[in-house]
């Protein structure tokens, strides 16, 4: 066995010393809280008394969340609401982002940079500000700007007959969709920038070669652009799912989860469970289940994209 010389050992030791602060910070702020959440999920704890006075309840929080059909918590309804917002984001938001990215990459020649700035403005604005501004736009009655616009078009009466009332955020038929649309409006800029960057990495030679082989525009798009963009699509889809499922600030600013819980999402539920219910253990169990669901979605998405790429 070859012994390490004293100098090499010292050198290695000093290297480890240098990474020690980073490891310490990572442990204190990431690893310990992560395990603490798991630990708390097995306890019934009010979040105030010393945690060693908490009662051990085993898997009962998880059992209640997953199998209790009569649970008053309404966890799965909130998951459904977040899922609905995510579906809108995956379809409407990402299609819009792709169309605009394609337009900027191929079609629009003039003011290309200006469009990039304009499209990227909503994501960099504060969600609270956006929430309150859209709340003013979508306000009910004659106060809201959108309703004034409908009135200008002489369509307010027709829409009111159809929906029952024009309180877009107070009407259960429209509240969640209104939030999903605002969320998509705020989020499409991210997809746009990532997709545009992806489009610009596709070598122009591939398009030229395909054109020489007689490919038309549609074939260029389906046979060159889409296959080359799959890793970018995966990234955008995963980011969209994670961002939409974890939506919180925008909803709090626009509806606070109302009316009657119709726009409640899992993060609001977790917060309410902690702040109003004072059930930290239950809230941690909710957070773990939520995290696992998001992880599974991401893994599934990656697997599908790998399969598609190979195909």
């Amino acid at each position: 066995m070859q012994l390490i010389s004293k100098d090499i050992f010292r050198g290695r030791l000093s290297n480890y010393f240098f990474v020690l602060p980073a490891i310490a910070i990572f442990t204190v702020f990431y690893i310990i809280p992560f395990f603490r959440v798991f630990q708390l999920s097995f306890l019934e704890w009010d979040g105030i008394s010393p945690s060693n006075q908490a009662h051990f309840v085993g898997l009962s929080h998880f059992k209640d969340l997953l199998f209790n059909q009569e649970s008053p918590v309404g966890w799965w309804k909130s998951m459904g609401n977040a899922g609905y917002i995510t579906v809108w984001a995956l379809t409407f938001q990402n299609c819009l982002a792709l169309l605009l990215a394609l337009a900027c990459d191929m079609g629009i020649r003039r003011g290309n940079n200006l469009y990039r700035v304009i499209f990227f403005l909503p994501p960099i604005l504060s969600e609270v500000v956006i929430g309150f501004v859209w709340k003013l736009i979508l306000y009910g009655g004659s106060v809201g700007l959108f309703n004034q616009f409908l009135h200008f078009l002489h369509m307010d009466a027709v829409v009111q007959n159809w929906l029952g009332n024009l309180d877009w955020l107070g009407n259960p038929k429209t509240a969640l969709t209104a939030i999903a649309l605002v969320h998509s409006w705020k989020g499409f800029g991210w997809g746009f920038i990532i997709l545009l960057a992806g489009l610009q990495t596709i070598p122009k030679e591939m398009y030229e070669a395909a054109k020489i082989d007689g490919a038309n525009s549609w074939q260029l798009f389906t046979k060159v652009t889409i296959p080359m963009m799959i890793p970018v699509f995966v990234l955008v889809v995963i980011l969209t799912i994670l961002g939409s499922m974890q939506g919180f600030v925008l909803i709090m600013a626009m509806t606070r989860g109302g009316p009657a819980g119709h726009t409640e999402v899992p993060v609001i539920k977790i917060l309410h469970m902690m702040q109003e219910g004072h059930r930290f253990g239950y809230a941690c169990a909710e957070a773990i289940i939520f995290g696992i669901i998001l992880l599974l979605f991401s893994l599934l998405q990656m697997k599908i994209s790998k399969h598609m790429k190979q195909a």
Partner: protein, 435 residues
């Protein structure tokens, strides 16, 4: 060698940051004088607190540092986190239900102030409105198993009543506010029809205001004992009188008197709508006097108890202590903290606080020198009640289903009877879990 120097520098810096980050909030000044740290969330009182602290330091040599953490939910999280690591300041406030307060006491964070209040034949206790002090009191047979005592000192008192726009009512030829529910409904409808303004607005996006409104009417319709028996599980929420309470919301919706967007409206928005004369009536706390003055100084309005549905029982309104401070039982400076609170709640300081921040003082001797609108609020202090002083509290799950159910009635999704049945179902479930 250079590597070692760099490493030692990084380590020393980290140690400095670590030590400074872990420093206690209970410190002494450099000169050895005592220092009392107070955490609070009331942004509108920050300047007044600072001025008073400076005066106190000049008079006693004890430095008082007020640290503001706002908004209130952020403050609550900070206090909870500090409690978990036993890093609470000398004086702090607890926001939330009585059971939260009880948890803090059980965990040994809050000093029982009864001996101080009883000193000198109860001289300190006598200065307060009794209803303000009772919010911070735990009776001998309280359900939380807390030792009898008063655990917090009120700085001000508040109550939540209905406010009405005098100018708008005058335009309808009405000079007296409505005394009954029917008169109220009729007036609200006239406001909409004749003046084009909404009848009633309240921040029902913040669900506690729905709870407040509904429980006031529950007290009026069925009386205090029956409400408490419901909380005890002896009377079901499906009782006809509870259905009558739920039906009030259906009636308000059906008559079209609720302001548009009320279920997503925060209290601040409701205050703005009332101050800008967009609605005739609103339900708000005495803190609103200051808010309305800021939003519309020329607003002509009055204060009234919510109009009665029944003459059988009195109308009750939520109220009691507004802002209360607790003393950290583990603080080294608890004696200084108590002395500071005694000084802060003395007549002179209370008058100043009340005049500068337009709040009802907790010291009853200070009421003579306050704003007339606040006096109007103060006149209803006898009608005040609060969930924190009830002998039994409802579970958060039932409260959630109760207020969401009322929202469902307003949006026309469910009937009062349906909501009553659903709330009772949750009540039965939570009672089963408890047992």
């Amino acid at each position: 060698m250079r590597k070692i120097y760099s490493f030692v520098s990084i380590l020393s810096l980290s140690a400095v940051f670590f030590v400074s980050g872990c420093s206690s909030t209970n410190q002494e000044n450099a000169g050895g004088a005592k220092k009392v740290v107070v955490w609070h969330w009331v942004t509108d009182r920050e300047e007044s607190f600072k001025k008073l602290a400076a005066e106190y330091e000049q008079a006693t040599g004890v430095k008082v540092v007020f640290q503001l953490y706002a908004p209130s939910d952020i403050y609550s999280q900070k206090v909870m986190a500090a409690a978990q690591v036993q890093a609470l300041p000398d004086i702090f406030g607890i926001l939330g239900e009585k059971k939260v307060f009880a948890s803090f006491i059980k965990a040994g964070h809050v000093l029982n102030l009864t001996p101080y209040l009883q000193e000198n034949d109860g001289a300190w206790k006598k200065v307060f409105f009794p209803k303000a002090l009772v919010v911070n009191e735990f009776a001998a047979d309280n359900p939380y198993g807390i030792e009898y005592g008063v655990y917090g000192i009120p700085l001000d008192v508040m109550n939540i009543q209905m406010v009405y726009n005098k100018s708008l009512l005058k335009k309808l030829g009405v000079n007296v506010p409505p005394a009954t529910w029917e008169e109220f409904i009729t007036l609200c409808k006239r406001l909409k029809k004749e003046l084009g303004v909404d009848g009633f607005a309240s921040g029902w996006g913040e669900t506690w205001l729905i709870d407040c409104f509904a429980s006031s009417y529950a007290f009026n319709i069925m009386g205090e004992e029956k409400v408490f028996d419901t909380l005890r599980g002896k009377v079901p929420y499906t009782d006809p009188q509870w259905v009558q309470v739920f039906s009030l919301f259906k009636r308000m919706t059906a008559e079209g008197i609720l302001a548009v967007g009320m279920l997503t409206m925060g209290n601040k928005e409701a205050e703005r709508a009332f101050a800008n004369e967009k609605v005739g009536f609103s339900m708000n706390g005495s803190w609103g006097v200051n808010v309305y003055r800021g939003m519309n100084p020329s607003l002509q309005y009055g204060v009234m108890l919510p109009p009665k549905v029944s003459e059988q029982y009195p109308m009750r309104i939520w109220g009691g202590a507004g802002t209360s401070f607790m003393v950290n039982a583990r603080s080294k400076n608890k004696e200084e903290a108590v002395k500071f609170l005694q000084w802060l709640t003395a007549k002179e300081q209370q008058i100043r606080l009340s005049q500068e921040t337009v709040n009802l003082p907790a010291n009853k001797d200070s009421v003579t020198a306050i704003d007339p609108m606040l006096t109007a609020f103060a006149q209803a202090m006898d009608n005040v009640t609060h969930p924190n002083v009830w002998p039994v509290q409802e579970s958060s799950e039932v409260i959630e289903s109760f207020v969401k159910g009322i929202q469902s009635i307003i949006i026309g999704e469910k009937s009062p009877a349906q909501v009553a049945a659903e709330v009772q179902k949750i009540k039965t479930l939570t009672m089963k879990e408890k047992n």
